[in-house]
Symmetry: C4
Subunit: 349 residues, 4 copies
């Protein structure tokens, strides 16, 4: 992990209430997935080229019709207001100002319209399918109206993973924190159950979401090639390979090991993003070489927020972006098009 | 291992005499098999599905013509009276009340008829083939008469594995504890040698046992595909993949690694169960994905017995069952029929 | 390692002068081979059979026309007089009395005729090819006359491996200790250089040794299939797979990993023995399953000698033999003919 | 690592200013490559031959038309004057006197003509392509005039790897240390930027260098078979497999793992050298068996310089050479021609 990111973790640990730090830091079950995500990226070795012209390393990234300065984006972590009062206004602002992809969580601590304004450029909206689907549909229409360019449908959370490390802790979350984006759609006596994730949602709903919102839909949490293809067949524009930060099914195949088969299956038919355990430019380079179109940072953004708000988020994104550019230069790859799977090997099994 | 099960181990360690704790806890030889059984399950990774309808996760399990609420059952540990006075009455009662499979050991601390009554539903009887086969045959006839629905013939104990950790310890076992179920068949001057396991028993005896008892016979301790087929050919209804809790041949291939080949070989021809090192729902999910029809818990039941008798056993079974249901929901598998080997991979060798 | 063997090591460490203990205990170079020999056996897993008739487990072993009670024999460690005054008289006597194979080192601390008498049955003679080949030839003729049934030609010691751990130590070896078996062939003013190993000896000499001695010749130190075949083609009756106790080429492929290819290549054409790191019956069972006809114990015999002379050597051999018989019973193999490579797997790479 | 080399490290750590020690010792990024280079050599196992004539082990090495006494040479570490005042005069002198290959760094602390005189035999010149190519070309012409027999073009350093361990340290390098070999080509007001490495240099420049200098060119830093072939096609006489001492792209495939594919691709078309993590004769033997024509020592030469100047460098080179000869004798290989890839295996993955 880049030294700056390590500093952010340390600062977050110091500044955040312990329960909040643990809320963001922890995973489900035995936290086996949580613990091995980063190591999985580091299990790859790089096979750089020599003597290539790398005077200019171009990280320009085209995703779903938009152009970004970098393939390093922000993952949709919820409740960023717990990390910093500015929350998603700060993370979105930092990402947008520098041209990084930004995915806003449904569980944003700020209204999506405000965040959209803070980003000031393209952004995507993450969504759960709620038991009351009219809530979901109202929300995605609103997101589209506010300028979201894509939806990220979280597919790996039919039920919520059990976080043993949270047993006995309690986060002081204002009662309406959960409802920042939902309250206006829920009537005077909000029924929180209606806003819970619906464990009955199926692939068919992908098409419905696309239709309702008029936006491309990426399915997040895909770890299997067959699922990726099924998502595309159901109308998805792509997938996000993810183990949900090690917070859902423990022992899920790490993103770094699941990515190659998913990316090969998707090929040119769709967009493939990945998150989980990425901490420097070498991790990014491995992900891109294995077929990802972009990578998303989750906890690093949260820790940066806690450590220094928008400026620190910008610093973290820039540091990873810059480290990736440096790694690409050392690998003899002057553009993302030159990054292919011949750059990586996994010799230790 | 689930936190509740860890608590049970701690309570058992505190409450049981040291020699008894060590009797149940230990393995044979260098205890290499004992030590790696759980890790072998954890060496698999899961490839969950996204966006499947998992509103209802159905664990209904059909085994040898009976329907159980759960594929999580009780393995035939002997001498459960050492762990709790109620012994098998408690473990069998807990399993039966909740609809879990239950296998009673020949070396039960309570008469099999009493345990049958405590279970109050289907149960299976584990049997060794004794030097005096008339003893074995009398016993299995009695078990059948008492309502056993199947026999589990232990096949991996022609001689008893050497437990170095028991050297120098002595368990205060009443002289007749060994004979609770056998005494009435052994005459006035019981010859314990007659009740020892016969190292000369061969596969042919499987058919004889089935014939004598009128019950389906599973062979326990099978780790090889060819043995599994030979058992079926000899008249077995299936096998239990097991290393006998690491108490027989040390360095035996762990159940978790032996299971796939055995299950593939058996296919639809018979029933495959597995035990050894299973401590939570993820282990169960891996076992089911690798082809097991059900899993059996050995030591976890003993520790629960010691920790809190019948109630604790019920709690342990429910916790594992519930964790399995949760894992299946997260994996997108709403029924056991949806659990196949595409859900697992073993990427680290 | 069997507890008894561990006790012997501890006793040897206590009783022997440190330099002597280190002389026997150490290896060459970084001692990487020394350290991994035992682990290599333990990297295999066993796939036992169930329900086989193992009332009698027969370890009768036929080697080069002789019948032994056991496939567990004594490797040719030199200078056993350093471990115990009775040296090879004790180890040979213990092996011979119980019917174990015994290989006497050229560098025996006792005259070969005396050892032959102590063995009282078949034994083999280990030989280096010396610079003055007439010495070698006189010696092997004498060994044959004294009743040796085979020669074991050490092939892995063209030069002596460097034992860093011996730097700065000095063993008080009487000047003629080296020459116990050679003195009478070397004239009045012995030239020790003449008795050094000849780095120029080649495979052709195998046939010469067989011719001179009239005995079958095994080549010791073979780790490659092609070398094994070349030895047979040169007239050898078989090979001993060995890394010389980790005392010659460090990082040599461990015996346990080299054995399968060598045994497959040799097949029925010759005899295959193996040594290095064997410490219990499970190691032996793995070796036999991988194709060895017998196994040899080196250091365990030396430590037993130091711990308790002939009686302790007998105890060590019996303990390993008995542990092998027990393991075979648990594996469902009633004779060496039933031990095949289906009994072993190496699932962890 | 050979004990003598370990002593040199300890002496260097004691004698050198901490910043200088860290300058030479450190690597880039997380120093993952730095840390695993040596282990990668040690992950191979050796399969020695028995009974080969090894009375004379011949290490005579022919490289690019010159004959050397040994395949163990000196890698082009820069600024050796920081380690010892005599710097490259000492290391080159030691190598030349004993007949080892010697590669002089462009960033030598002494003028190349003086070093050439100190070597007194064939030597090679390492070169970066500078932004001002006339500088590079003047330099290589001068090297050729001074007797260099080959150029080693560093290809893995289009930009400089980030050495986190150097953050906050400062080496007292005289202002002109960088320019010892360049000053006379740079005019009165030297522009250091002109002497920086040009990130735009491509394979085409290999031919240009060969033409300008009239010397064969090896490209250093090649880890891929396709790059190796591309270098040959561009006019290179061969490659040096290298991760630049773990100082450039962290997580690059270790030299020991990259070498086999590169050597196979190059075959007889060119020369293959290798460096990185080599610390004894066994490492060298593995490298030669995997297809290297020679190996280069980087840090071991620097530490020897610091420990004892020219004499210590000579001692280090002799120790590694001698250990290789010893290992070859034990492996039954009497000449480099007998060292092939059947001597190595990598059984642990």
């Amino acid at each position: 992990m880049l030294p700056l990111l390590v500093e952010h973790v340390a600062a977050a640990r110091e500044r955040l209430p312990e329960a909040v730090f643990r809320y963001f830091a922890g995973g489900s079950g035995d936290e086996l997935s949580l613990g091995e995500a980063a190591d999985a990226w580091r299990s790859y070795r790089l096979l750089p080229h020599v003597l290539r012209d790398v005077r200019r390393v171009d990280l320009t990234t085209r995703l779903l019709g938009e152009v970004y300065v970098s393939p390093v984006g922000v993952a949709p972590s919820g409740f960023q207001g717990l990390a910093h009062p500015d929350g998603e206004l700060a993370s979105g602002g930092a990402a947008g100002a520098a041209g990084h992809p930004f995915v806003l969580s449904t569980r944003s601590s700020h209204r999506l319209e405000a965040v959209a304004a803070a980003v000031g450029g393209p952004w995507w909206f993450q969504v759960y399918v709620m038991r009351d689907r009219s809530l979901t549909e109202a929300l995605v229409r609103r997101a589209a109206a506010a300028g979201a360019r894509a939806l990220v449908l979280t597919g790996d959370t039919p039920v919520v993973g059990r976080k043993r490390h949270l047993t006995g802790t309690r986060i002081d979350l204002p009662d309406d924190a959960f409802l920042v984006n939902l309250a206006e759609h829920m009537g005077e006596r909000p029924d929180r159950a209606a806003a819970e994730q619906d464990p009955g949602v199926t692939l068919e709903y992908v098409g419905r979401l696309a239709e309702v919102s008029g936006l491309p839909v990426l399915v997040k949490g895909v770890l299997r090639a067959d699922d990726a293809l099924a998502c595309l067949d159901a109308g998805a524009a792509g997938v996000v390979v993810s183990t949900h930060g090690g917070r859902q099914l423990d022992r899920a195949l790490p993103s770094a090991l699941a990515l190659p088969a998913v990316a090969r299956a998707v090929g040119e038919r769709g967009t493939v993003l990945v998150d989980g355990g990425i901490g420097d430019g070498l991790d990014c380079l491995v992900a891109l070489a294995l077929g990802a179109d972009a990578v998303l940072l989750g906890r690093p953004v949260v820790w940066a927020l806690a450590a220094g708000g928008r400026e620190a988020v910008g610093g973290a994104l820039a540091a990873v972006h810059d480290d990736l550019a440096h790694a690409m230069a050392l690998a003899g790859a002057a553009s993302l098009g030159a990054v292919d799977d011949s750059l990586v090997a996994r010799p230790h099994g």
